[in-house]
């Protein structure tokens, strides 16, 4: 048989893991500094919990698991792989009514989507979510934007834009333009394509989806509004004066902008974009999506307020907002831009093995290194030529090799080889850990 990895998935070999772990640690550290705490939920959720919350398109992308036993043999499904981390969070809040609210949690775990695999789009990917459940205040939304900026700074990005919009403003604009209610969702999907297809393209999309020409024209003219965030709101406010929901959206957005300012979020890092929609059904308030200037890789993070989602599960609404930092996209960018400086291995030392008679010496040296906190491998076979052992260290990128031979063993010393500098020196066994730690930064 020819073994194959599942389509659209990847292995992360040790050399990849170094970068992935350093990015994850940076994001986790920002989340924790803001007072968020870790949560983990199962990868599998009941299919009735998973479906019917994201929207039709997304529901199709849920991986479905066959029920155990006879029903399963007839193709019945009772479980699915989680599609995001937001719905599992809502389920946790719905099933743990005694959590102190606001429940501020972060969650760094994989999600699965049966998407058509393509470049930089995978069927399994890690999401880094941070959410505040139980606060209706725009302060919580502002915190999401502040956290996003801090996370991107922490991984070394400086030039990026958090796009902000508000679902209530979008609803108001549909009222204003006279989009028939039943066409609201599809009209939004058309608008969402503005950056990709331009105004002309959106006009065609709206027509294709059956949005009346008059309504489409009014929508399109709104999409041309741009400028400073407060200016955008000033411009849109007049259009929405007859829409209750639209006016509410403007007022909340003003509050959000005020909180962003007093939170000290850099104005260069956020915009207000009326055409930014986001795909999922469950958003009800401010929404955010982040892009870096270079290279072009799609959104780096995204999220928003979803005040109704917990209610769908719990029967009682709990206001909530949150965002996802896209680990995979960040790692991809760092790889493209070569900003990854992680070492190829975290193993500092390989201890060689001469033969059976000196094996005890080699193992003792390794034990001493480990006790000193130095990561240390030993060669796994006696009586292999030194050259082969050195080649193995070279192949793995291990920077130091400690040669323990019979002469050295007798003299209570070892040979310490610096693989990069191709230098070698004799070091007394009792000084080895100290030399590695202080002189070589192990």
């Amino acid at each position: 048989m020819k073994p194959q990895i599942a389509k659209g998935t990847r292995d992360h070999l040790p050399a990849d893991m170094a970068l992935r772990e350093s990015v994850t640690a940076a994001i986790k550290s920002v989340f924790e500094r803001y007072g968020y705490e870790p949560l983990e939920t199962p990868a599998i959720e009941r299919i009735d919990v998973l479906t019917g919350k994201y929207g039709e398109e997304a529901d199709k992308l849920i991986f479905r698991i066959i029920k155990r036993g006879e029903a399963g043999e007839r193709g019945a499904v009772d479980l699915g792989l989680r599609y995001d981390l937001t719905l599992p969070l809502a389920r946790v809040v719905a099933t743990n009514r005694d959590l102190p609210l606001p429940f501020k949690r972060y969650q760094i775990q994989p999600c699965w989507r049966a998407d058509k695999p393509q470049k930089d789009r995978f069927r399994e990917f890690i999401q880094c979510d941070v959410d505040c459940v139980g606060s209706a205040s725009m302060l919580a939304d502002a915190e999401m934007v502040a956290i996003t900026c801090d996370c991107l700074n922490a991984v070394g990005f400086e030039r990026f834009r958090v796009m902000v919009n508000h679902r209530k403003i979008l609803a108001g604009l549909e009222e204003y333009a006279g989009v028939p209610a039943e066409l609201g969702p599809t009209a939004m999907q058309a608008i969402d394509k503005l950056e990709k297809v331009g105004l002309k393209g959106v006009r065609k999309e709206l027509a294709d989806r059956g949005v009346p020409k008059g309504a489409a024209n009014k929508l399109l003219s709104v999409l041309e509004i741009s400028g400073e965030p407060t200016q955008v709101l000033d411009d849109v406010e007049g259009l929405l004066e007859n829409s209750d929901i639209g006016s509410e959206g403007v007022a909340e957005s003003r509050e959000l902008l005020k909180y962003l300012e007093i939170s000290g979020v850099d104005k260069a890092n956020y915009e207000f974009n009326l055409w930014m929609v986001r795909g999922l059904d469950y958003y009800t308030g401010p929404i955010y999506e982040t892009y870096i200037d270079e290279p072009k890789v799609g959104s780096i993070s995204g999220g928003g307020r979803y005040d109704g989602l917990v209610g769908l599960l719990a029967g009682q609404d709990v206001p909530a907002t949150g965002t996802t930092i896209g680990l995979e996209r960040i790692v991809a960018v760092l790889e493209i831009t070569g900003r990854s400086v992680a070492a190829p291995t975290r193993v500092s030392v390989l201890v060689t093995v001469f033969d059976e008679s000196t094996l005890g010496e080699s193992l003792a040296v390794a034990r001493d290194m480990r006790a000193a906190g130095i990561t240390c491998d030993t060669f796994m076979k006696p009586d292999v030529k030194l050259g082969k052992q050195l080649a193995y260290a070279e192949a793995r990128g291990i920077p130091f090799v400690v040669v323990v031979g019979p002469d050295e063993a007798a003299a209570g010393a070892v040979q310490l080889k610096d693989m990069a500098k191709r230098e070698q020196k004799e070091v007394p066994k009792t000084k080895l850990a100290e030399v590695l730690l202080t002189e070589h930064g192990c």
Copy 2:
């Protein structure tokens, strides 16, 4: 609807996560000190890769995922959730032929088994695997036992026993006893129950499974052999002198014991147990399984050599050995014995918010704390009574509250409340981070 978590799975709320993360970090650190490097593989594998390697019983426990598209509607399956981390590793080695061997990797990820859920047995659980692929030396097996001992020490266990046995000795004993070849696997399953059902129980099991009485008697008499590991091997050696495979098993086991000794593994921590079998089909050499003395919770770790598994996938055998440290069992024991000392939260400080006018002050104080590396939450709503904000900190177990009121703001100071001691003092804003870091260990 009543939202429910999937049967046999658990959420890990922040209070659980503290312990889980500290145990994981301790194990990871031991793996790295021995020169092992991290690998992650996808949760989903192709069903043809997953099945046919573990044995019939295990294959039944694989969660099966429905194929996308029309074939799926007819119940076709193309993917499954990984059952363990060993097979994915074998697939990685089979599909990455340029890995420097031995490939020494660790992998800490969840696995899924559609087992009947029961106390302390879950359908999703984290495994911590460490494996050495590409070395046939018993040195690699000895390292697995040494790593197991170091991991258990690192999480605070002192009294435990790694049981060691050898599949080739078991095969030899079947030859010696005259167990018909086709009954070999089922005879092993009977023997594996010795600790649970006793010698009498095993006798019945063997009879039920059709093992001839003469063969069963010979097997049972061997199971009574016990004592020091070398003594057990001495006793069994004579019985196996006519079995090539059995003699090979004895010779390799002697080598393994010698390496354990020169590796400095404490003799109190390992035994040689002829009746320890392990369930999976793929083992070919030494096998190990670890139990703690108290409380009784099943095996804490287990593994063995599987020289044929990579070959099943790659067409060419690559010798390999490894072990799994059972995170879930360790965490369960630490919870039972109350040895968990992790704090209920890693959030050190809550900054209160008085009203809209002082909100900027509160956010600035929080920003300063975070810049100093202090984990710091801010209350998510202005104009909430101080008592409610303190109650929230109390409920989350946050140890310090910084009260920022209008008087304090004017004076450039804050009130620092120690929630445990119920003490409060005024601190200049500029000194706050220093006081928290140096006087309160934040």
